[in-house]
């Protein structure tokens, strides 16, 4: 399945990179071209997510779970791929559910920042995938320079997990507060 995974990952990579450029264009411009591109954003992100999920699923079949979850590079690739897919799903849902409101005021810069962050996640995921098939890039050295050795499993201690849990709950609370505030407005 490795060859199929390599073929399939080209689609989400290309589509999400295109989506990043589209979001940046729309964030910086209210012109006709930017608006036209924006109208294609939800279909683009949808196709990208579907292809991303397909690549993810096929990727999990390249090696048995015991194998991929036993190697630091494999673990890192699965972790980053999971976050990348989840992250771009978030962008799709946001643009789909909130429509053009995402380009109002400071929201457009939030969208631009999210798109750039999504591209970074995508790039790291692809780099780790390259490592797994023996193709190395300097991105690994950049990550190493930033403090993460890609040959070691990325994980956080229990205290950080607890902090993430608390932050997640706070975000959900914040969301519920926002929903109530919107309903009362």
């Amino acid at each position: 399945m490795a060859a199929y995974h390599v073929v399939l990952v080209h689609f989400p990579i290309a589509l999400w990179m295109t989506a990043t450029l589209s979001i940046l264009l729309r964030a910086f411009s209210d012109g006709e071209l930017a608006q036209a591109v924006d109208r294609a954003l939800v279909p683009l992100l949808t196709v990208a997510l579907i292809s991303g999920l397909a690549a993810f699923a096929v990727g999990l079949m390249v090696w048995p779970w015991e194998t991929i979850s036993s190697t630091p590079l494999g673990r890192n690739h699965v972790l980053l791929a999971s976050w990348t897919v989840a992250y771009w799903a978030l962008l799709l849902v946001t643009r789909w559910r909130r429509g053009e409101a995402v380009w109002v005021g400071a929201s457009r810069w939030i969208m631009a920042g999210l798109a750039l962050l999504g591209s970074v996640l995508l790039g790291i995921t692809g780099t780790l995938g390259g490592h797994l098939v023996g193709i190395y890039t300097e991105v690994s050295n950049a990550l190493r320079w930033l403090g993460w050795e890609v040959f070691t499993t990325f994980y956080v201690p229990h205290a950080t997990l607890a902090a993430i849990g608390v932050i997640t709950l706070l975000l959900i609370g914040l969301g519920l507060w926002g929903r109530r505030a919107g309903a009362n407005a």
Binding site: W63, P64, E66, T67, I68, S69, S70, T71, P72, G74, R75, V78, L79, S82, W83, A86, Y87, A89, L90, V93, T94, R97, R98, G99, E100, A101, V102, V104, S107, I110, L132, G134, E149, F151, T152, T153, F154, Y155, V156, P157, L161, I164, G165, I167, T168, L169, L170, L171, I172, L174, G175, L176, W177, G178, R179, G182
Partner: protein, 346 residues
């Protein structure tokens, strides 16, 4: 393997008819894969006639084991072999235990006529005041039977190992000149005949052949498996290889060849069964004969080795981290969506 987290129990090894009974093993030491019917089962030793045939065929590793304390003081090296277990070559090795288990006391002490003392001083050892020219070991040349009626004092220290020349195949390797500790490094040259006359214990070195070597070094007074190792390198006797050996005249080479730096790393708890199992993505490559250097660097393996020590714990924490990250993204998405204004056209 000894000192692995899940090492075989000594009683089980001793009860094994061949390893415990005939080979007198108390732990599962390094062994080569073909000496077992199943590489995942140390107990599955192949029949003895098969072992003999493998050995005759040269299926063993030749281990030159120089030790700073147990062999260097008398200018020799241990000579060992790895086959169905790691063991010494035939004959006596360069040291033996200086302990009488029945009387529970040392067998030998220092000869006061030759060394002006019966024992070392504990404080000298702890404070590292002894140098290579001091009396810091006991050998068959400086030993006399232990004096039970001597007025021994607190701090009197007799070395645990009695050093000796050894004999037979076990004593094929000597130190050329003198092994010296200087500026934080040992400078040692080992010497052995190219043909020792012991082809069942030693790799006979022949001109124009290429051999595979690997190095292991214990530093910082650690023992057992806590050593650093190298990836395999090739040695060519007058042939192209990583290391090229060339003939010289006289007793000592000029040492004017280019240096070859060898990178060492800590291998952790990585075993041959593990590397050939579903836990190793490269197991298929091993079966195909792909060299380790093709896919791994020393620095990569150093990290993998340490992680292998805590494989279960790290995998669990990694899964927690993965799900925590997804939940954080979901929470952030929920909050973001609730606070963004709904578009008129949405």
């Amino acid at each position: 393997m000894p000192f692995f987290t899940h090492e075989a129990k000594a009683d089980e090894v001793k009860a094994h008819p061949y390893l415990g009974g005939k080979r007198k093993q108390e732990e599962v030491r390094k062994y080569l894969p073909a000496t077992r019917k199943d590489i995942n089962d140390w107990r599955s030793v192949v029949p003895e006639d098969e072992l003999a045939a493998l050995r005759q065929g040269g299926y063993f590793l030749d281990l030159w084991h120089w030790r700073a304390h147990r062999s260097n003081p008398i200018d020799v090296s241990d000579d060992e072999v790895i086959f169905d277990a790691r063991s010494g070559d035939a004959g006596e090795g360069p040291f033996t235990a200086n302990w009488d288990a029945e009387t529970k006391q040392p067998k030998f002490m220092l000869d006061p006529q030759k060394t002006q003392r019966r024992a070392l001083k504990w404080d000298d050892l702890i404070q590292r005041t002894l140098g290579l020219d001091d009396v810091y070991f006991i050998s068959e040349d400086t030993a006399v039977p232990f004096d039970t009626i001597h007025a021994w004092q607190e701090g009197d220290t007799i070395p645990r190992r009695l050093l000796r020349r050894g004999d037979g195949s076990h004593a094929d390797i000597t130190v050329l000149g003198r092994g010296l500790w200087k500026d934080g490094f040992w400078d040692v040259t080992l010497k052995r005949a190219m043909d020792t006359g012991h082809p069942l214990d030693d790799k006979i070195l022949v001109d124009k052949r290429v051999y595979n070597l690997a190095f292991a070094v214990h530093r910082y007074a650690v023992g057992s498996r806590w050593h650093n190792i190298s990836l395999p390198i090739t040695l060519g006797l007058g042939r192209e290889a990583d290391l090229i050996a060339s003939r010289f005249d006289g007793d000592v080479p000029a040492w004017d060849q280019p240096w070859h730096a060898v990178t060492l790393f800590y291998p952790g708890q990585v075993s041959w069964p593990m590397l050939n199992s579903a836990r190793h993505a490269g197991a298929e490559n091993i079966k195909k004969g792909v060299p380790v250097k093709f896919r791994h660097s020393e620095s990569q393996l150093a990290h993998y080795g340490v992680e292998a020590e805590f494989a279960g714990e790290i995998r669990r924490q990694w899964l927690f981290t993965l799900f925590a990250g997804v939940m954080l993204i979901a929470g952030f998405g929920f909050a973001l969506n609730q606070w963004l204004e709904r578009s008129p056209g949405a």
